[in-house]
Symmetry: C2
Subunit: 461 residues, 2 copies
């Protein structure tokens, strides 16, 4: 509970219309995509950087917890006030695109801009912002940076961190800092922008972002290959990529995911296939597109591809991608609740990971469909629970997921490719990091936030 | 001076052949490319990570300064033991390429591997490691990472930081840490690898690097354009790049640099040209190459290009690049000593920067030829001093350089695009960073190195 004097001070600071403590408003900031609920003690909407500065300095002095929040679309509880305190929301007053600089191919934005709005704005100028998390219609650029969001285009274009050139942020003590530059090359001082990316709101509140843009590729085309086994499909992926093709996306569905989509939508998918790969290439001239598709076809067919189709028009393009886009909702045929995690391993270790998942599925008696981004080894593993009200089945589900994390880490993978750690994966941190590494994280946290007011206890810190 | 007991302990630890305190040996580790000289108290060659661990833990306990060193090719004194202590050299026992993984397109290397050796090794397998600092024949990958080295290919392929996926390092207290992963996507924990890049050996000693590789582009071709003015040339650069062409390199020489090369080598260069642009494009199919060159030709000619030539064979390719490759040595026609710095501004601000440089040249009565990487706004600015033994001229040179830094920063540029801060630019740090930002750097330094034994006082810290 927030003391009345603090509530009064903060309310005066930003105005009553920008500070709420009533349950109805708080409810709207108590959720994210985890479906956990944590009521904050208040929600505050700073109007500008100076407000952020004053809020943080005040809360730091009075040891009031601050949880920064974008759109609340996170999958790991990063924006949840699980330990009370205030949600500091950037969605209301930090939603402007400040500058799109076509000469330097960069843009300056406020952190509350929705990813997709920004993509549309730059594409209208013939430019391109590649990071495309599945949440792009709702999630904010500030949230994307704080979680280092990925997406389907990562195989070719990388992830959010590859597009952050500079930022402004406010430290818990109220210090305003700038980090990075509008220049590709900048090696003066420590890479503070680099460490704020993916820091899940634990180190500072970002108030402005300078993002890198590309020219928009003129052409793109998609293709699909059907394989007898995941192993063959993965061999085809890495041989294609080593040949000089860097596909924009290289997505896969396993047999369970294929069957789920077919059961729901009857699209004529191959029910017996071990895997489907769906890929897209882009470029500037038709010959570059056809060369890439030729290479992919060759390496697919040399590695057990039994059916290869190239989309010849936008309808066929849509059709090819239908299965991938509808995989996530279709797998609900296997159970009422899915425990889904974005496990990532080095690309070539995907077959080994999926073998482990098959074993774990057997062992725990749970169906585990998988699909995702083979281009970067990022798999969405879905442990399906038939009845979430059965505590023993839920328990088995959690244990199966933990076994999957252990397998991924044994294969030199990571706890999270895209979603972050937040609350949901905090307890798994010791699986991935040594005590010395965790101690270093804590010292870094303290260098930014000595009073531990900013999103405390997240990431297992 | 190192106490005898410490010398004995360290000598015993690594063996007498790996620890020197005699002047002849020390001399060989007292220099770098700055031409400053600082004799260390000793030079030690750890044989493996365990040696690094023990050396650091011991020196940390006894407050002995450690200066990590690769090949000593740095331009800013990062590897110089300006405050005594030991040089810790990684060139002798850390020079192995541990793994080139063609499935995942990554390599694991020790930090002492020479950049060019590594490039050759991966190219023999049809792969590609883009970062190509001018020092590539001598400099080490560990040094490249510690300084975040750039190079000519940065406009298209980025810089060293874009290729570091993971690393192992030893903290001053002897803790061994791993940071990053072999996966494109990894968002678990703080981005410790990100902050070690460009940290100039101030935070930890890197003992292993996992680097990202690309497939080697099959085709490349170069072209040259002659312009009446720098302004026109820069307009041509940004219009080309906004059209969807991302050249591998887009290099320029100003009039003074052109005349210097011509005076030395009589290659028939246009002595009256305001600027020459030399560019290279690459790709997989001939049509992709010709489309890019067509776009560049169009945008060059629409912006005042008076002569445009495409290299049709390897001899012509060599000829086009001759002027750029020989600019650095040729400008010695203007003076015995050059004060050269790698100032970087946003691409579109290059004409404004070069106008400022022209004014500063007038004001201080010094010739200042410029050349460099327009694709990323990185200019090598060379303040030429006729007589380095004349203290007043040297003083004027230093003041001119300081005026140039101020101009660059006013244009949202950086103190250093490629060379780092080290000793040489330490005094300029307050021009670029606020007291709050400097204080944060110091807290980050202390989070890694509380006793300040690792390359202390560098970067103005």
């Amino acid at each position: 509970m927030l003391e009345t004097r603090h509530a009064q001070h903060l309310s005066q600071l930003v105005g009553v219309q920008n500070f709420y403590t009533d349950p109805a408003h708080l409810q709207a900031y108590a959720y994210d995509a985890t479906k956990e609920r944590h009521m904050p003690d208040g929600v505050i909407f700073p109007r500008d950087e100076e407000d952020v500065r004053q809020i943080l300095a005040y809360c730091n002095a009075h040891q009031i917890i601050i949880v920064p929040r974008g759109a609340g679309t996170g999958f790991t509880g990063g924006a949840l006030s699980a330990h009370g305190g205030l949600v500091l929301s950037l969605e209301k007053h930090f939603d402007r695109i400040l500058e799109i600089d076509t000469k330097n191919l960069i843009a300056r934005v406020q952190p509350g801009v929705i990813n997709k709005h920004f993509q549309n704005a730059v594409e209208a100028l013939g430019l391109f912002y590649p990071p495309d998390p599945a949440s792009q219609d709702q999630s904010t650029l500030g949230g994307n940076v704080s979680e280092n969001a990925g997406g389907m285009r990562a195989a070719k274009y990388g992830i959010t961190k590859d597009y952050v050139m500079a930022l402004r942020a406010v430290l818990p003590n109220g210090d305003v800092i700038r980090a990075g530059k509008k220049t590709i090359k900048d090696v003066a001082g420590f890479n503070v922008a680099g460490i704020l990316i993916a820091s899940e709101g634990c180190l500072a509140v970002i108030t402005e972002l300078t993002l890198k843009l590309l020219a928009k590729p003129k052409l793109k085309q998609s293709a699909m290959g059907v394989f007898g086994s995941i192993g063959e499909a993965m061999e085809a992926v890495y041989k294609s990529m080593a040949s000089g093709v860097t596909p924009v996306a290289m997505e896969f569905l396993d047999n369970l995911s294929i069957r789920a989509v077919e059961q729901r939508f009857a699209k004529g998918l191959p029910m017996d296939a071990g895997a489907i790969l769906i890929t897209q290439v882009d470029g500037s001239v038709p010959e570059q597109i056809s060369w890439q598709l030729d290479q992919i076809e060759k390496h697919f067919k040399e590695n057990g591809c039994i059916d290869f189709r190239i989309a010849q028009n936008s309808q066929q393009e849509e059709d090819l991608w239908f299965a991938r886009r509808n995989a996530s909702q279709s797998i609900s045929v296997y159970g009422k609740k899915k425990l889904n995690e974005d496990v990532t391993v080095p690309r070539a270790s995907l077959p080994a990971l999926l073998e482990e998942v098959a074993k774990i599925s057997q062992e725990y008696g749970l169906t585990i469909p998988c699909f995702g981004h083979t281009g970067d080894g990022n798999v969405h593993v879905n442990v399906m629970v038939q009845d979430p009200n059965d505590p023993s089945e839920m328990q088995r589900g959690q244990e199966a997921m933990e076994a999957i994390f252990k397998s991924a880490i044994a294969l030199e993978g990571t706890l999270s490719g895209e979603h972050g750690i937040g609350l949901s994966k905090a307890r798994f941190m010791p699986l991935a990091f040594s005590p010395e590494e965790m101690a270093l994280f804590k010292r870094i946290k303290a260098a930014f936030d000595p009073n531990n007011i900013l999103n405390p206890f997240k990431m297992g810190l």
